[in-house]
Structure formats: C-alpha cells, structure tokens
C-alpha cells in the first residue's frame, strides 16, 4: 500500500512539472498622439420673410448646425461675411446688405462657443432684419435668389 502511494505522488509531480529553466520580463509603452479637431455639419439655410416697411423686426428661421469636437476641447464660433477664404476667428456678428433686395440684416450665433464632448452639439446662426426697411422690388414679391452676397461663412475655432 505504501508503495502504491509513492508511485502516485511521483506521477503527479511529473505531470505538473515546469519544463522552463527560468524567465525574465520587460515593460513597454504605448504612445498615443491625439490631434484635437472639430467637425462642422452643414448649416441649414436661413430664411427671412419680410414685408416692405413692416413695423416689427423680422427674425430668420433656420440656421441650425451641429459641431462635434474632441472631448474637453474648447472651441469658439465666428462669422465672416461672404464665401471667400475663411480668416479665423471671425466675428460674433456680421451686418449685411443684401445686394438683390437691398435689405439690411445681421447674423449672430446662439452661443459664443462650447467645449467638446465627443458628440454632436447643436447650435444655430441667428438672423435679424430691422423694421421699416423698404427694400427693392419692382413687382409684388421678390426673393434674393440672384444676390451674390447671400452666402456667408461660419468658422469653428479650436
């Protein structure tokens, strides 16, 4: 009986035995370079509906947009009249005289900027047209479809 027990112990020791003679270890780093960035979704068109010499201010509809930025990255908005090359940072507001219907309006922003969250964040370009403007229109109703200065630039600075 004692012999049987001894043989079993030897077999178990051989089965669990390590065949390596030894080991050593080292560490390594994973270096990450993150370039912060923002992306701007298309700005929806703004639309004014105005009656010559109307008594009240007209506010534009539309102008919504969303911006997605690196988490924790602060950013600001700027506006620039016209569609030429953007020259950051732009202005908080711009004043424009439409060259088709000769109406003055101003554009602003719903916020000066924000801080990135990694997700899309919604804002809007706001538009305001002062009261008591006559405008130019030789018929009952006109649009500024032919205006050459109806497109402007929204800049996201980060």
């Amino acid at each position: 009986m004692k012999r049987i027990i001894a043989a079993t112990a030897v077999a178990a020791a051989l089965a669990a035995g390590n065949t390596q003679a030894g080991n050593t270890s080292g560490t390594f780093n994973v270096n990450v370079t993150l370039t912060s960035a923002c992306t701007l979704a298309a700005v929806s068109d703004l639309a004014f509906t105005y009656t010559s010499l109307q008594a009240g201010v007209s506010n534009a509809t539309g102008g919504g947009f969303s911006v997605s930025c690196t988490t924790s990255l602060p950013y600001t908005f700027g506006l620039q009249a016209g569609s030429g090359a953007a020259t950051p940072p732009g202005a908080a507001t711009i004043a424009v005289t439409d060259n088709a219907v000769q109406l003055n309006y101003s554009l602003g922003l719903s916020a000066a900027g924000g801080t990135g969250s990694g997700a899309a964040q919604a804002f809007s370009v706001t538009g305001s047209m002062a009261a008591s403007q006559a405008g130019t229109c030789a018929v009952a109703s006109c649009t500024n479809a032919a205006a050459t200065n109806k497109t402007h630039t929204l800049i996201v600075n980060y």
Partner: protein
C-alpha cells in the same frame, strides 16, 4: 558667438509667437441667407398715379398700394434708398388729425436735384424738406373740397404719417 547668430531671429520669433492664434485649428462651413420681400398688402401693387408731367417721368421710383378706393384711403409708398419725398402743407388748407392735414408732395431722388430745386421754386411757395416717408394717407386725389375750389387742379393732397 552663438547668441549673436540668434539675435536677428529672436525678435521675429517673439513677434510670431505674440501674434499666433491661441487655437489649434479651425474648420468652416457656409451659411446661406434667403430673403422673400413682399410689398405691403400682398400682390395688388400699383404704381403711384402720375399727377404732373414732371412726376410721371419718375414713375417707378416708388411703388404704392391703395388700401381703399374711397377718399381718405391709406396709401403706402416704398421708395428705394437714396430717394426722398419733399412735403409741404398746402397754404390755407385745413389740417386734419394729429398728423397734419393737406399736404403737397414732390417725389425726387438724390441724383435728380433739379426736381427738388423746381419744387422749392414753385409758385405756390413750396419749401422742401428732407426725410423718409414711411406712410402716406391719401386725403383727396381728384375732387376739390367744394364746388369752385381753386385748388381743384392741385397735384395731389395727402395726409401724412411719419
């Protein structure tokens, strides 16, 4: 020796840093503004009836829409920028309401100073004034106040609201 070689570069570098934007980058998108401009009162737009040869030459300078065919109709006149209306109360005519009464008017534009001068030298003694008229109320377009009214051939009388 080494510091001397950097000397010309240093001010430029400092200036560059001072003028450098604090942001890492930017992106931009376009914003399109659409405008629909309508005349007051909707689609029925008629030009101001010409009252004198001189005024008929200016047809199209301003557009108006009469809101009523009756005496006392309200007429709104919209003029392009740069144009003005010279208005003078008609001597001897009554004033009605808080905004005045019978007025004569002369439409002109800044580039056509001669019309303005002609109005100023009118035999009736018009005196011209500068301003922007936002609304004109028609007092009596065609009929004299009473039979035999010597003002029956007056060019146009208006009640004016500023």
């Amino acid at each position: 020796m080494r510091s001397a070689s950097f000397a010309p570069v240093l001010p430029a570098l400092m200036a560059l840093l001072a003028g450098a934007p604090s942001w890492a980058g930017s992106t931009e998108g376009s914003v399109t503004v659409g405008i629909t401009l309508s005349q007051p009162g909707g689609s029925a737009v008629t030009p101001v009836p010409p009252q004198t040869p001189a005024q008929s030459q200016r047809a199209g300078v301003c557009f108006s829409r009469s809101l009523s065919e009756k005496t006392g109709a309200v007429v709104q006149v919209a003029c392009d920028s740069g144009q003005f209306v010279s208005i003078e109360a008609v001597p001897g005519q009554r004033f009605i309401g808080v905004h005045g009464g019978a007025f004569r008017y002369s439409l002109s534009i800044a580039k056509d100073r001669s019309v303005y001068e002609a109005a100023a030298n009118d035999a009736f003694g018009w005196r011209a004034g500068w301003g922007t008229v936002t609304m004109l109320r028609l007092y009596d377009l065609t009929q004299p106040d009473k039979p035999g009214d010597v003002w029956g051939d007056r060019p146009l009388e208006l009640r004016v609201s500023f």
